[in-house]
């Protein structure tokens, strides 16, 4: 008898272990727990954006019917590999954060679900035309825009006066000003190079009317090395070759900026708050101007900015979209996000007004930086589309940027390389290219 019992025990243990293993393997296909009809709908939300926790708290306090649980992500870099893995495992959060360049990538990787039904009309009616093509493609809506990283010209007003230079309105004027500064003081430069910053190269091409991607029927168009992109890069190649701008990396550049050896920075609207937290002792000295344009007609582009979407395995899209709508358009949500420390520039007009009111203008000597960004938003060429091959484009440009810095390649050559790599990558995935 005893022996038999022991056999049972062993079999039971082995059975339990293998069951546990199987459960571990198959958790990916397990259906998400259904919410009960009584009590609030419970959804999860992941993000790395500053102020997300405060937004969730404010939402939960004012919405008894939906309860959001916030899951922090360390950085945007960690976000996308985590999302693709989580969707494979079936445990992705209901509401996810995706930056513009990654929306089509995440849509084609099966991370995002089509939210045309619950959010399509909402996106069309509540957001600027420049943002439409970034979240709507292939006849479907994939995300709801939060903010626009409108590319602007941040500059030291005091030092501009000292060196006797005007705020440049065109890139030609920018180059002239850069030359003047470098001649006046060899230890000082007007700004830093775009070489090595893939997203900035994209934004400056966009400003010049280029479109790196597009949709043609059932195919993507890849046009990274168009003439408009090449033309946009000319002045930046020239500035780099003549050493009229700094070509250092971050910690060194920060040091130079702190020492007043760098007079201006080209960055997105969100940079206003970063500037204030990095260089608090330079308060009152910075101003913002429209980005220098290729011609006398003002133009700019998006450099950064995020959207919210619903993950593929979420069964609570309606509640998720409700939360997203509130996050992106409600003044209370924006006030909670900004809390006086962020300079996020919401695309939705009502939310934007709330943000402008909440932001403390003292650092910029009382200048209304939101007005500058709002004027910029109107000059962003519409129709820009990020393709699913964008990560490949970016990594190729980053690797190529090193070659440019070493003097072994030019910006136009690495645009060609990025074009080829992106096309090859998408073709390999079976995606149709025209």
């Amino acid at each position: 008898m005893r022996k038999i019992r022991k056999t049972h025990v062993v079999v039971a243990v082995a059975g339990a272990l293998s069951a546990a293993l199987l459960a571990g393997c198959s958790s990916g296909t397990a259906p998400a727990a259904q919410s009960t009809r009584s009590g609030p709908v419970e959804i999860t939300f992941s993000s790395w954006l500053k102020g997300s926790k405060q937004v969730v708290e404010a939402f939960n306090a004012s919405h008894p019917d939906i309860k959001v649980t916030f899951k922090e992500v360390a950085s945007s870099k960690d976000n996308y590999p985590a999302l693709t893995n989580q969707v494979k495992a079936g445990n992705a959060p209901d509401v996810v954060t995706v930056e513009y360049p990654h929306v089509s990538e995440m849509a084609t990787q099966g991370v995002l679900q089509d939210i045309s039904k619950p959010a399509g009309d909402f996106v069309k009616s509540k957001f600027d035309p420049a943002a439409q093509s970034l979240v709507t493609f292939g006849g479907a809506t994939w995300g709801v825009p939060l903010d626009a990283g409108v590319l602007e010209f941040f500059y030291r007003e005091d030092l501009f006066t000292k060196y006797g230079i005007e705020v440049p309105k065109t890139w030609a004027e920018y180059e002239a000003a850069a030359a003047k500064v470098a001649t006046a003081d060899p230890a000082v430069r007007l700004g830093s190079t775009v070489v090595g910053d893939s997203a900035l190269m994209a934004a400056l091409s966009w400003q010049n009317g280029a479109k790196w991607g597009g949709v043609d029927g059932d195919s993507w168009k890849i046009d990274v090395n168009s003439q408009a992109s090449m033309d946009a890069m000319k002045v930046h190649q020239d500035l780099f070759d003549k050493k009229l701008v700094w070509a250092d990396d971050d910690p060194v550049l920060q040091k130079k900026q702190a020492a007043g050896q760098m007079l201006s920075v080209i960055s997105g609207a969100w940079y206003g708050a970063a500037l204030r937290s990095s260089f608090p002792d330079q308060a009152g000295k910075w101003r913002v101007a429209p980005l220098p344009a290729p011609t006398s007609a003002p133009a700019t582009a998006f450099y950064g900015g995020s959207t919210f979407g619903i993950s593929k395995n979420s069964t609570k899209a309606d509640a998720g979209v409700k939360f997203i709508e509130w996050m992106t358009t409600d003044p209370a949500a924006i006030s909670a996000r900004i809390g006086g420390t962020s300079s996020t520039f919401p695309i939705n007009t009502e939310a934007n007004a709330a943000a402008a009111k909440t932001f403390d203008k003292a650092f910029f000597g009382g200048q209304d930086i939101y007005a500058n960004a709002a004027a910029g938003l109107k000059t962003v060429p519409s129709g820009w589309t990020w393709t699913p091959g964008t990560p490949t484009t970016f990594s190729k440009l980053a690797d190529g940027g090193a070659q440019v810095k070493a003097g072994k390649a030019t910006l136009s050559q690495i645009l060609d390389q990025a074009q080829d790599a992106t096309v090859a990558d998408l073709k390999n995935r079976g995606i149709s290219i025209k």
């Binding site: 949709v215 910690p251 810095k405």
Partner: protein, 330 residues
């Protein structure tokens, strides 16, 4: 790198018990009890004790490997804009063929080879020299120096890379300042600079570990041999080079070969350093290539195929190492 090199201590340790002794023991115990028949009870108990190992081994080693093999034979095929469902298509050896003909993948092996050619001779010669110095009669405070040399090894590779990243950054690093002050130039952007900046970090990290191994091996060099050498008129330098270094040649060669296997898996250091040593691309080493394929391009089939090819190569090399190691022992 750790577990692989630990086995190097083997040759320096005491020789294994002769087989006869073990047989005598078994025979001795055999005479005391009845010859053992495999009892059911015993088998069950043994199974219970063995189960945890096999469960973990299958769950975390065998299953992932088999799953990678499976993944490597498939490819996610999208259609049109790629917005619809992805089809998992069986492609047989296509991923393998693509990896072997991908210049990014093959050149990553070239980078590793050059890196090994710089890193390994420097590191082995340095650790051997330090071990011999520590072992020499004139050495003072041996315990302290052994610890001091070993310390960098307890710093995780990632942290070491971060430390050196700062030491390589102009205007922040005292080293760069010193180089510039003495009239030198500092430029990490060249291909050669990439190899040297990485080698420098790994040499710094792993020298101490091998010093300890070689020093332990040196303790096993018989005193009589050294005394005989002294009587024959060999000075301390001659003894170190001609006697001691030769007597631990087995340990040195095995350490070298294991270091090669460890060095091939280079990943964290170049990944962090590529912002400074700009010649390092995102697919600079085989492991970086696999990481890029899996997590940037989301091409798991391709990543699995290149990872398995790499694993087979390391497996073959490890096998060769063990073969050569046992030869060196004899």
């Amino acid at each position: 790198m750790g577990p692989a090199t630990q086995r190097v201590a083997g040759p320096a340790g005491p020789p294994p018990e002769p087989k006869g002794a073990i047989m005598a023991l078994t025979q001795a115990s055999g005479t005391r009890t009845e010859p053992r028949r495999p009892s059911r009870k015993g088998t069950l108990t043994a199974l219970l004790f063995l189960a945890p190992f096999f469960v973990l081994f299958f769950a975390f080693t065998v299953f992932p490997v088999l799953y990678s093999c499976y993944l490597s034979l498939f490819k996610d095929k999208a259609a049109g804009l790629g917005l619809g469902a992805v089809q998992k298509v069986f492609v047989g050896g296509e991923n393998y063929l693509r990896a072997l003909t991908d210049p990014a993948y093959t050149s990553s092996f070239g980078n590793i080879a050059v890196y090994c050619l710089i890193y390994i001779p420097v590191m082995i010669v340095l650790s051997l020299s330090i071990a011999l110095l520590l072992d020499s009669a004139a050495a003072k405070a041996r315990g302290f120096f052994r610890l001091a040399f070993y310390l960098p090894n307890i710093v995780p590779g990632l942290i070491a890379a971060v430390i050196w990243l700062y030491l390589y950054t102009p205007e922040i690093s005292p080293i760069v300042d010193a180089v510039k002050a003495s009239g030198g130039t500092w430029d990490l952007s060249s291909t050669l600079a990439a190899y040297f900046s990485i080698s420098n970090i790994t040499v710094w990290m792993h020298t101490g570990y091998n010093v300890i191994l070689f020093y332990a091996a040196l303790q096993a060099v018989p005193k009589e041999v050294l005394e005989a050498a002294t009587v024959d008129g060999a000075g301390p330098f001659r003894t170190a080079v001609a006697i001691k270094a030769r007597m631990i040649a087995g340990a040195v060669s095995v350490a070298t070969l294991f270091t090669v296997v460890g060095a091939m898996q280079l990943f964290a250091e170049p990944l962090l350093l590529k912002t400074k040593a700009t010649a390092i691309t995102s697919t600079w080493t085989p492991n970086m290539f696999i990481y890029d394929a899996a997590f940037d391009k989301h091409d798991f089939g391709y990543a699995a195929a290149s990872a398995l090819t790499f694993a087979v190569l390391i497996g073959v090399m490890s096998w060769a190492v063990t073969k050569l190691g046992s030869k060196a022992d004899q």
